[in-house]
Subunit: 455 residues, 2 copies
Amino acid sequence: MSDAKEAIEYAHANHERFLKELSEFIKIESISTDDDYKASVTNAAEWAAEHLRKIGIENVKLMDTGGHPVMYGDFLKNPGAPTVLVYGHYDVQPVDPIELWDTPPFETTVKGDYIFGRGTSDMKGQVMATLNAVEAIMKTGDFPVNLKFLLEGEEEIGSKNMKEFLKKYGEHFKADFCLNPDAGAISADEPTITFGLRGLAYFEMHVSGPAQDLHSGLFGGTVHNPAQALTELVAGMHDANGTITLPGFYDSVRVVTDKEREETAKLPTTPESYLKQTGVPALWGEKEYTPALRTGARPTLEVNGLLSGWTGPGSKTVLPAKAMAKISCRLVPDQDPNEVYNQLVKYMEMNAPKTIKWEIRRLHDSPWAITDVDNNGIRAMAAAMESVWGRQPLYRREGGSIGVVAMLQNICGVESGLVGGGLPDDNVHSPNEHMHLPTWHKNMDAFIHFFFNMK
Amino acid sequence: MSDAKEAIEYAHANHERFLKELSEFIKIESISTDDDYKASVTNAAEWAAEHLRKIGIENVKLMDTGGHPVMYGDFLKNPGAPTVLVYGHYDVQPVDPIELWDTPPFETTVKGDYIFGRGTSDMKGQVMATLNAVEAIMKTGDFPVNLKFLLEGEEEIGSKNMKEFLKKYGEHFKADFCLNPDAGAISADEPTITFGLRGLAYFEMHVSGPAQDLHSGLFGGTVHNPAQALTELVAGMHDANGTITLPGFYDSVRVVTDKEREETAKLPTTPESYLKQTGVPALWGEKEYTPALRTGARPTLEVNGLLSGWTGPGSKTVLPAKAMAKISCRLVPDQDPNEVYNQLVKYMEMNAPKTIKWEIRRLHDSPWAITDVDNNGIRAMAAAMESVWGRQPLYRREGGSIGVVAMLQNICGVESGLVGGGLPDDNVHSPNEHMHLPTWHKNMDAFIHFFFNMK
């Protein structure tokens, strides 16, 4: 017989090796959005598969999704005991702008309590916390429940093949509960369970005018500059209050209840905390909602990128032939990515002038999710957190998107426990991504307690 | 004694060699805006200097300007005869987007009546037309007038050191008339003398918000996205009529007279010709002015470039920390680049929200110019054009900027004859720049006539 104490001691004793393994995992440049990194993405899946085999997981294999593979594994030695599905993703975001990194993104650097590197927080660090917790129990006794693993390589590109994959192979992933450590915590001292995630609809907007770039002196004043036309169209997508103007955009948005306003007001995510985390001179957004509601319960439309004309050093007096914006919407219940696409097209039809041509391309979608917090898995996790932090977790909605959560609900009937050691100032998706090591270990400990609590 | 006929025969007999020499000149990648090409820019000046020595010009030397050098040369063998200053620039625009070129930009390709390559039209081709005309007269007899040469390497970056240079060395460049073939013609069949040029004020606008790129899901809705804020600020710089909204922008703009409206209405630059040249679905701009007036007599504000966030393939859900726009104004009499800078800053002070930080950087300025068409030089040129084309030239204002024209007027008291073989659809400043070879030769012939007419 084993217990959590013994496993936790094992985890702490193996701290240095765990860090070394995390560094190996980070080293594999698994940028899923960029085809140049395709082989590296597969290498990351294979590295994870090999690691799972090493710690005693069985039937480990890579499964074809049409895109980057899903890594499956299981450990089903406890008939009658619950089955926990462990979710994670082994892909990472691009590293641009690379010049703003203080250390090489794919070589981890430990400074004080923090480890730096692309994927440390989102989410190779979180994957390894979970696998380390599993290993610690395996190596110190009998595993108390059954396990399945689903590690994907397309989370950062909207899990675009996951829906079809789960429709085909959903039976493999049936479980009583999914442990998903991709959702992070409000702070190092505040264990957090996330119950709401926003969806995503990502677009490219292309505006074009003349057949090629023109001399701005010879044609400026007679030709609608596509870069200018693009700014006019993008600027019009919000009103002065920060409210989105796409026709019908809020029609399906669930009204925030008074109860949710009250609950959210208790969270420590205050205007001051947002100012401190971001460094902006002043906050922005819909005045009728607090920052926590704006990022959790309200949809957004963000410009993720702009490109047109001459962007190198110095000046070029060009009237660009075309301009591009990357635009994505975070969606909340009950918005549908297809509807949002239609609303964006409708907006363009209503507002684009006849002086330019335009095109909206869909890059990817991801559904929103609200998870049920009234179940054994959440209770086991809440108790585990209390054992480690000495306090009950906070419950919040979170602004990010994890597509698989709604898919597991809808296709496999599995509820997820959204947790994790990522913190808001970890610079995820940004230069100098890092992870707080003390929180990493607390999560490892909590996961060990969780598996025992699930028994 | 020589005459124009003999020189023109020489020029036609040497067509193939002239083309070969032009190709050598084009081959030198003299992109003045990019420091990586600094050595090439000097090489182009040296190539031109060597060529002038070869055709018999004396005292050829490169003169330091603080930036790229000015090439000087003279031929002063006719005491009492007028002195013609030949102006040209040996620098070229960048070649991006390089992928849109059908042929290598620095290797000339002849297809039918056209020669392709960066600088063929703007303006190495025009420089060579002038030097070939000079050579043709030199090699077939006595040169009828005195000559000076001013070839600069910073025209495409606003002749930023020219003003100080001419203040210091203006005496070298005193002349009775300046032949400036950088202004182009309305069409191959319509010889053109340009009497008005717009000025230029070129800026970079930087908008920033958070200390680094943020995760768009975690912070979207509470932080004013700098890319969005930039689109809002840029979009607000024009009203729905295409009129510029910078405070006081039109205060110094000379009112277009009825006479100028009448004269411009006679030009063949119709709405249809603009549509055909550009390929845009519809024209744009101030309704109260014809396209020819909008590009000649009215000031403009153009977006020359946009850059923010993720612009590579696929999606990155980033809320960018900063955004940049390159913005330039074409100026008309009596606008002052310093005033326009102040107006832009004022606009930003009035309109930029407190949620972002901003900065306006001045890249370069160039003054507008109106030249006197009632002088011997213009009369000699008009007669030369009539000899070649069999028709009187058209007189027009042009939308581009050639900074040196106003400087030569104000500092050296020299009026310029603005002509040239560049045509509106030559793709100057754009991919696939090219020059119409029959027009090139007609200009060579006209320049030969011009020198004899100046006697």
